[in-house]
């Protein structure tokens, strides 16, 4: 009887072993990315093409850029695909990633209610527009979630030259102190609404409150033209070079995290910046509008 149960256990163990072996042989990598790449629908087109060409399948975990970078630092994923250039370069510089591949860019727009109480319609200078919004104390919704969009918005507030409030939060990481900054104009909780939520949620929030908001164009198009009940907000300020939004892909460094599948993630990154990958990105249309402009082939 005892022998019998031993045998059964052995068989089960062997089975588990073969199964896990089978999984390992599959070309699957995990990728943390920003909500915008997934919400815009680009990945739904891109990833099947990737699998056709290279056989690599990508498990996507969509989060804010901050959380995605954190995932990369902790080695929870094999590759990250995010948009916060300065932070990405720092990420590579600190040895968490091997290299930043510039993949594509799109742009941000400043939206607001059609009646435009702050009078920013037609401005092409984003900092100027924000200054007017702050001057009018018109409701402004901020992502406030440490995402790429939030990073960009904070940078724009700094360009305005307005007196800003800055809060540093110290966190301990591996025994070392690390500071996270949060910059915002005065008026927090009154007209400056920092809601700490994703882009789509923030858009419906701003629409509900008839507030101003900075959003990436992809999500805006989706919420304006792709929904049964479209949002009422309109584009009031666009075209400022400061509103450009570059995306980069970074394979996680196997020296930091030996378990990552570096070969696959490198192939993935190289495919993205290859002619093939870039063509797929350039041809992607959301509701008839081009969303992403390729960065790798232009140079």
């Amino acid at each position: 009887m005892k022998q019998m149960s031993m045998r059964i256990i052995l068989v089960i163990l062997a089975f588990c072993f073969f199964c896990s072996n089978g999984l390992a042989a599959d070309k699957i990598i995990k990728m943390s990315t920003t909500t915008s790449t997934q919400a815009s629908g680009l990945l739904d087109v891109l990833l099947p093409e990737l699998e056709k060409d290279t056989g690599i399948r990508v498990k996507v975990i969509a989060k804010g850029t901050g959380a995605a970078i954190r995932d990369g630092m902790d080695g929870n994923v094999d590759v990250i695909f995010v948009h916060a250039k300065a932070r990405e370069e720092k990420f590579v510089h600190e040895g968490f990633g091997t290299k930043r591949y510039a993949v594509m860019h799109n742009d941000f727009v400043i939206l607001g209610p059609a009646k435009d109480s702050a009078g920013i319609n037609g401005l092409t200078n984003a900092a100027e527009a924000l200054k007017k919004i702050a001057g009018a104390k018109a409701a402004f919704v901020s992502r406030g979630d440490d995402s790429g969009t939030h990073t960009k918005e904070q940078a724009l507030w700094e360009y305005t030259g307005l007196p800003l409030e800055k809060k540093m939060q110290t966190i301990l990481k591996k025994g070392k102190k690390k500071e996270i900054s949060f910059i915002h104009p005065p008026g927090l909780g009154q007209w400056y609404l920092s809601i700490g939520q994703g882009m789509g949620k923030a858009l419906t929030f701003a629409d509900e409150k008839q507030a101003y908001i900075m959003a990436d164009r992809g999500t805006y198009i989706k919420y304006k033209f792709g929904r049964d009940v479209p949002i009422d907000l309109v584009v009031l300020c666009e075209g400022d070079p400061a509103l450009a939004n570059p995306y980069g892909v970074i394979p996680i460094n196997p020296k930091k995290h030996p378990h990552v599948k570096y070969d696959l993630s490198k192939t993935f990154a190289q495919w993205l910046v290859s002619k093939r990958g870039q063509t797929v990105i350039a041809n992607y249309r959301l509701l008839g509008k081009q969303l992403f402009y390729t960065d790798a082939l232009a140079r």
């Binding site: 989060k63 804010g64 954190r70 440490d146 966190i171 301990l172 909780g189 700490g196």
Partner: protein, 231 residues
Amino acid sequence: MNLLIDSFISAISLVISMDKEMINIVTVSLKVSGYSTLFASLLGIPIGFLVAFESFPGKRFMITCLNTLLAVPTVVIGLFVYAFISRRGVLGFFDLLYTQKAIVIGQTLLILPVVAAFTIAAISRIDQRYRKTAMTLGANRLQTAFVIFREARYGVVAAVIAAYGRVISEVGISMMLGGNIRSFTRTMTTAMALEYDKGTFTLAVALGMVLLGLSFGMNLLFHLFQGRVRS
């Protein structure tokens, strides 16, 4: 493991230094859940009492309904209230959405059945002889009701505790109706959800500790109260 220790140490220093932002978040949480517990009690206890005390057709059905409502997910209440107070909703012109009032409305609806159902249970458990004795001693209906209520207060307080525990720890309604606006409608639970999304766990862990501490303190308080009632 490192992550946990790091977060824990930073969290303790946050709690000790009485971080301004943390205090603000805790205050908002206590305020909204305090109000919703108060309103739900003011409405729910009389409702529960009447249902338990009076007999009328459909009483059993009503109790079954209340018991079912105990398990309503917070997001369902959130959606329901959202549909009413949204700018495109019936009550849109009050501009209630994404305010503390909105959270209080949602949370009150959430725990009203809790208070009512637990009150019914508490009242029904009281021995029928109390009622009969009171009546034979010449008490009128109101006086009889008072006697029974006094006997059931232990259970009624338990109803309030359960209701309070449900609102202070819920996240769905606070997020959907409050909108997690920093230093306005950000509560402990929505702040924790956000810090998790951001990948910075310090504040989340600190708030988790405060939440546990508060619940413990509250229960201690109620416990003392109940103890006194009993003796």
